[in-house]
């Protein structure tokens, strides 16, 4: 599989910082990582995204040297680190559980890695103060972790990981244990911190929203392999396969058959697809994919391109928009999920049971060969 991608901060001269080559990790007979190769550039914010058990944490731990791969090479900053123990690699790490030392104060936690580096006491104090300031906890230094909120604890963990100025920051589901509001807030904080320090960062997450909002590039993983690497927009707009599309955002997946160089048939409908069918031959069974928000309802004329009549069988109010379940005679028993804006629903007086004219815009239709 080959992906085209647009580099983060395009136009800049990018240097490769981490080179991962053919990493395989087995636990007994179970293959956790299958021949993974990946390049990560200096200063990038990378997210490993995937369902639980996809191998993203295993890959992170292999990079850290905590669970060394079965085979394959890893290069960091031009140096082969494949076989180095964790203690001899150059990274800081933050865990979902924070792993703060409960019996040490916040300052002692942050300075934990500094004490070992023959730094003077004053220098350590200065650095700790600087870091606490960085994460906005200047006045909390003398408290114990248990006296802080979850979000504050995670920031302490972050400061501790950054204290030794590592070349690589590894975040293992750092926000999963927090409640929704704090999570959104910390997302921005971490992102801002990253912009400020420019440290190469890898974050593992199963939360697509997190990945989409924070990452320069996302690595979508499934069953021990990389499905796709790309910027958030690429991943969302142009998923390489049904699996990626399904995992990142919601995707309508209809079964169809290729009927021409740029057309597919779904049920009784023939759709034009502006992007072509990707060289698939006529008669090939395919999955036709479209995001719910890409379904057009305003200004769709009867008999227009890719348009047909559908009935709203369900309409759910989701705050900022409505999610509709549509049934169409011409599609048989396949159902379509569509997101309509509040304006559309009000202007077009959409309601459950109403029959409307919709279109599947050809430029948004993605075709994947049926497996």
């Amino acid at each position: 599989m080959v992906t085209q991608e647009t580099p983060a901060g395009s136009g800049n001269q990018r240097t490769r910082y981490l080179k991962i080559e053919n990493i395989t990790k087995k636990f007994g007979d179970f293959v956790a990582l299958q021949d993974i190769s990946l390049d990560i550039y200096k200063g990038e914010f990378i997210c490993f995204l995937g369902p639980s058990g996809c191998g993203k944490t295993t890959l992170l731990r292999a990079i850290a040297g905590l669970d060394i791969q079965t085979s394959g090479r890893i290069e960091q900053g031009g140096k082969d680190i494949s076989n180095l123990p964790a203690a001899e690699r150059n990274f800081g790490i933050v865990f979902q559980s924070y792993a703060l030392f409960p019996n040490l104060t916040v300052s002692k936690n942050v300075g934990y890695g500094l004490v070992n580096r023959r730094m003077g006491k004053a220098a350590i104090g200065e650095r700790v103060a600087e870091l606490l300031d960085l994460v906005g906890l200047s006045d909390q230094g003398s408290k114990y972790p248990a006296q802080l909120s979850g979000g504050e604890q995670q920031r302490v963990a972050l400061a501790r990981a950054l204290a030794t100025s590592p070349g690589l920051l590894l975040l293992d589901e750092p926000l999963s244990a927090l409640d929704a509001k704090v999570r959104v807030f910390l997302r921005q904080e971490i992102k801002a911190l990253h912009r400020r320090l420019g440290v190469t960062t890898i974050m593992v997450t199963h939360d697509q929203e997190e990945a989409l909002t924070m990452a320069d590039r996302i690595v979508v993983m499934n069953q021990g392999t990389i499905e796709q690497v790309g910027t958030p927009i690429e991943i969302y707009r142009n998923p390489m396969n049904r699996c990626v599309g399904d995992f990142v955002g919601i995707m309508n997946c209809l079964s169809g058959v290729v009927t021409g160089a740029a057309s597919v048939r779904v049920g009784a409908m023939e759709f034009d697809c502006a992007n072509g069918v990707g060289g698939l031959t006529e008669g090939q069974a395919v999955t036709v994919c479209l995001r719910p928000e890409e379904i057009a309802v305003r200004g769709v004329a009867s008999g227009g391109a890719n348009s047909f009549e559908a009935r709203i069988s369900r309409l759910e109010f989701l705050g900022s928009f409505y999610r509709a379940t549509l049934e169409a005679e011409r599609l048989g028993d396949m159902k379509i999920t569509a997101d309509f804006s509040i304006n559309e629903v009000r202007d077009l007086t959409l309601d459950e049971g109403a029959t409307i004219q919709i279109a599947l815009p050809g430029e948004h239709i993605r075709i994947f060969a049926e497996a």
Binding site: V2, G72, P85, A86, I93, L104, G113
Partner: protein
């Protein structure tokens, strides 16, 4: 250049991880622990097993000794006696402990803390002590011998009574734990369905505590069948396996037959151990994470009845200790009842005198300190080592073995192993060191499990964080792991100390003229007929254990206060 490419490659280099300094230290530590456990557990047991297959001159004779054992009706009869005593004692102890635990967990009676404290008192005493008290109570000159209606206390009745006293707290702890895990929602469901109290008891309470009760049964059964303190003092001519081992080895220095009886003794203990392990594994799935703790509601009549029961049991426990204390101050029971400290003049008697008491304190202190260091550090290594899986599993298994080995068998194995002229470790034989090694080993498993539980409750990523910060693991161990685990560490050391003070079974074979012990002195003074002095020494042990317990409680409270800022409540 192709970027971010995932290609299939035929020949990716296999990883050959370089071990860090931490890894090396941990592996060496694990090896040292493995060697230690081999010397302290495996090799002695192996020597014991092989000894059972040899004749007096050390020639291999196969199962001849076993054949002799089973052909000797006297010895064979002991199996029957041992089983009888163990089963009866188990039934009585479990019944009493269950009701007592039920009162503590399911009633609203007042004074629960005091009753729980009283129930723990027997742990502070060697098993010889209740037997001595029983002689004063029910012996031929007993204070209340009429209660037995002409039956003699010397024999099964006395043994069972002594064993019930001695094993009661062990059973109680387990059953209390089992009953405290009850899920209130089940009771609410039963109540809302109009289920009768009795039916609720049999359909909810008992099944819920089932595994705890079974586990307690095994523990009590093993304790009784392997204990020899009680039958030694009060058994009269009623032979049991444990006293047979003692008679064969100490009385007749017939080590081969001792080894055979020891192995026979090992069988029920190992079986009970295996069964308990299987059941414990099942139990894990039983506790739902979302269980709501059960809070009893006051029911005056039920609460009063429960309190009445606890009063009776508590009175008996304290009574037995009180009788012992009283007896120790009497000039010459029953003819001269003047109070005296004469019986505390241990130096005039068998058993090593006051030196024995001092030795016991020294031995218990060494056991507590060294044992805690070895066991906690060992548990840490077993928990935290990376890789090295074969050795790790081996060591882990060796940590569990001692639980299945009765003290008598362990002590016997130590004679065979350490008192062998060809053994380079022979020099520890007859020293304080061998007593400490033996006692640490004897009580290794329970301490190891306590340490493991405490370590498992800690964040598993502390070590990963230290590695990323380039801090060696032993620094984190010292700065974080140890402080966080202080309560567990104190628990382990107090457990080791008290057990070292009271244990008789293992050390009775390996003490020497320089290292006589208080608990063994109790035995020897009783043997020589100095029963009052035996009672007096027993009291010294009880008071010392109790004092250390109190100290431990104060220390724990102090630490809890000092660390309440950071301990997660």
């Amino acid at each position: 250049m192709t970027e971010g490419v995932t290609t299939l490659s035929a020949a990716a280099p296999l990883a050959r991880p370089i071990l860090s300094r931490d890894d090396w230290i941990m592996r060496w530590g694990m090896l040292v622990l493995g060697v230690w456990l081999s010397v302290a557990v495996v090799l002695p047991l192996y020597t014991l097993l092989s000894k059972g297959l040899e004749d007096h001159a050390g020639r291999f004779v196969g199962l001849a000794n076993f054949a002799e054992f089973f052909a000797t009706p006297v010895l064979f009869n002991s199996i029957y006696n041992s089983l009888t005593i163990a089963i009866i004692s188990t039934v009585i102890t479990i019944t009493l402990a269950f009701v007592y635990a039920y009162a503590l967990t399911r009633s609203c009676m007042p004074g629960k803390g005091i009753f729980k404290g009283i129930a723990m008192v027997p742990i502070l005493a060697p098993s010889l002590l209740p037997a001595i008290s029983l002689v004063y109570l029910f012996g031929n000159q007993g204070m209340i011998k009429g209660v037995l209606m002409g039956e003699t206390i010397y024999g099964p009745i006395g043994i069972v009574m002594g064993e019930v006293f001695w094993t009661f707290p062990h059973a109680l702890i387990i059953i209390i734990t089992a009953l405290s895990m009850a899920d209130a929602r089940l009771y609410e469901a039963a109540e809302s369905l109009g289920t009768s109290k009795l039916r609720t008891f049999f359909t909810v309470t008992l099944p819920g505590a089932r595994y705890g009760v079974i586990s307690a049964c095994f523990v009590v059964f093993t304790l009784v069948i392997t204990d020899f303190g009680v039958p030694k003092v009060i058994g009269g001519q009623y032979n049991v396996l444990a006293t047979d081992v003692y008679k064969q080895v100490i009385g007749q220095q017939n080590f081969q037959m001792g080894a055979v009886v020891g192995m026979v003794l090992l069988v029920p203990a190992v079986l009970a151990f295996i069964a308990d392990r299987i059941i414990q594994r099942k139990q894990v799935a039983l506790i739902s994470a979302r269980a709501v703790p059960y809070h009893p509601k006051p029911k005056t009549r039920f609460d009063m009845a429960m309190m009445g029961f606890c009063c009776v049991v508590g009175f008996m426990i304290l009574g037995i200790i009180a009788v012992d204390a009283f007896a120790s101050f009497i000039q010459l029971w029953p003819y001269n009842l003047t109070l005296t400290l004469y019986n505390y003049d241990f130096d005039l008697r068998d058993g090593g005198g006051w030196a024995s008491y001092r030795n016991s304190i020294v031995m218990a202190s060494y056991t507590a300190v060294i044992g805690t260091v070895i066991i906690f550090a060992g548990a840490y290594l077993v928990e935290k080592i990376r890789g090295f899986t074969v050795i790790r599993s081996l060591v882990q298994f060796m940590c569990i073995i001692p639980l299945a080995v009765p003290g008598l068998v362990l002590g016997l194995a130590y004679i065979f192993f350490f008192n062998h002229p060809d053994n380079p470790l022979e020099f520890v034989y007859g020293t304080m060191a061998i007593l400490v090694i033996c006692t640490v080993t004897h009580f290794y498993t329970v301490s190891h499990l306590t340490a493991t539980t405490a370590l498992k409750q800690m964040d598993p990523e502390f070590e990963a964080v230290s590695m990323s910060l380039k801090v060696p693991f032993y620094k984190t161990f010292w700065r974080v792991t140890v402080p966080v685990c202080v309560p567990a560490i104190l628990d382990i050391s107090i457990y080791l100390f008290v057990n070292a003070m009271t244990t008789v079974s293992a050390v009775v074979f390996i003490y020497s003229a320089d290292t006589t012990l208080a608990s063994v002195a109790v035995l020897n003074m009783d043997d020589a007929g100095e029963v009052a002095s035996a009672a007096a020494m027993g009291m010294m042990i009880v008071c010392t254990s109790a004092g250390v317990r109190v100290l431990h409680a104060l220390l724990t409270r102090g630490i809890a206060r000092a660390s309440q800022a950071w301990r997660v409540r």
